[in-house]
Symmetry: C2
Subunit: 301 residues, 2 copies
């Protein structure tokens, strides 16, 4: 079986949706701790408007402070050319852009239609490719939208195909409000499977209703999907999506895949400790299951 490809989005998607202000130094230390757990890719920040997303205003400083590990890719989210310039200056190793499968959500989130948002990616894609960097695109609300309700695979497919047609290397399919169930995952992956290679698909689950692990295992077992996003500690939520809770916790996801015989390459103790180091700053216990158990105690055979 192919090794799993985990993308840690806690420092970006997680922290940008936390209320507590986390200083750049702590963010960089968090990313550095994560980079020693076996994770190969970490989205370390976003070069977006500081007014729109104050939590990410210091991403330049976070990137500057990183103690980069060989073999670890540090990616960044950008909304436009201005963001790309900052990301390139910060030496981000991969560039991520974002849109949605729900028109209403996209308009409320970034004040553009889906088509307009994809149009805006063109110069970003061109310049990223000129810089020799790989590109990811997020497609959020790919199963349910907090405003429109259920989103059909027929709405997601053209968005994914447009993005791949523009030269995006991989698509992260987001269950933004955590409402998807395994049968929703099957329906979407069946629809995408006709034209999209499975290695270009990453799944990005939130765990609002507790179904993220079941969804991820279904995608892996039944569709050979190996790319999964998660946030260590289950950080985050989504202030733009009513009722959304955090990303699925990376440690819980890695534990599940390891228990199922997947090749994760990750040291669960180091991973869990990385997120736990943020608890004093967040001033709340982490949402992950593994952060609550003693991995060294008992029989962990």
């Amino acid at each position: 079986m192919d090794p799993l490809r985990f993308v840690e989005v806690g420092p970006r998607d997680g922290l940008q949706n936390e209320r507590a202000v986390v200083p750049a130094e702590r963010k960089a230390a968090f990313v550095d701790a994560l980079s020693k757990s076996g994770l190969r890719e970490i989205e370390a920040g976003a070069f977006v408007s500081p007014e729109a997303v104050p939590q990410m205003a210091d991403s330049d400083e976070v990137f500057a402070r990183l103690n980069r590990q060989p073999g670890v890719l540090y990616s960044a989210l950008v909304p436009n050319m201005r963001g790309l310039e900052r990301a390139l200056a910060a030496k981000a190793g991969k560039i991520a852009v974002f849109t949605a499968a729900s028109e209403t959500f996209n308009r409320k989130n970034i004040r553009a239609s889906i088509a307009e948002s994809i149009e805006r990616f063109r110069p970003v894609i061109r310049e990223t490719k000129a810089a020799g960097l790989p590109l990811r695109a997020y497609v959020s609300t790919a199963f349910f939208c907090p405003y429109e309700g259920r989103i059909s695979p027929a709405q997601v497919l053209p968005v994914v195909e447009s993005l791949l047609g523009l030269g995006i290397d991989e698509i992260s399919i987001g269950d933004t409000i955590g409402r998807a169930s395994p049968q929703d995952v099957r329906a979407l992956l069946r629809a995408l499977g006709a034209t999209v290679e499975p290695e270009k698909i990453f799944l990005h689950f939130h765990d609002t209703y507790g179904m993220a692990i079941a969804n991820a295992l279904t995608a892996w077992r039944e569709f050979a999907i190996t790319g999964f996003d998660a946030s260590s500690g289950g950080l985050g939520g989504c202030p733009y999506a009513p009722g959304a809770s955090g990303n699925v916790a990376m440690e819980d996801l890695v534990y599940a895949f390891a228990a199922e015989g997947g090749e994760t390459g990750i040291d669960l103790n180091r991973l869990t400790e990385a997120a736990k180091s943020l608890e004093p700053v967040l001033k709340r216990p982490l949402a992950s299951r593994l952060s609550k158990v003693n991995l060294d105690g008992g029989n962990n055979d």
Copy 2:
């Protein structure tokens, strides 16, 4: 597809492992609220030694206070004839006995070998049958034991067969420390499937590592298991099993099955409100996912 058969164990397995003292009146009100959610079976108490399990010392009073709903079965756990007498006096509708698949766990938990514990059931089974009541047996640590580590299906099968041979009607297979993954569930259900009818099997998952939902959906989808235990609110834990957290939350389990097209017959709002009513007594937020979201808000199509 056959309707799901949920057994609510929060008032017993959940509360017996909570630190907060919950008065009998509150316990009975909790059971009554649960009984109006569509649940058909509620384990409302245990007639065990009050020294061993102080939380269950008032089970007689809890049963006496119930406003019994037609069509709802109120069951009770008993360890011996003394317990059975109290359960019959309390008009319990089903009797549950308990043992384990791990010798070490059973010895530490009830100071008897597995064989001895099953031997002790004989008079309880005889008198329960004489009273015309159905019988359930719990087999805990059926996947992992906190002392012995992994428990093989070959250890579980003879325990289950002995119990069924004695006339027990249904077996609740427990993942006491929540370590099982879908492939462990598959391995055990394949082993049991050769001799045990699926309708006699209930699965009893704890959610320590976040895999209970994935496990339950696997058992249902792949093995046609329809019987599942859970605790509303994810109440409980297990003080005898290091690192164990509560039972999987009934509302999260029901949500997952409903999302997957299962016939649950349960009103999720009523179910979730029943457990929420205990939050002031427990003085902590519930562990369930659904207790944290607004089911009436957003699009719940």
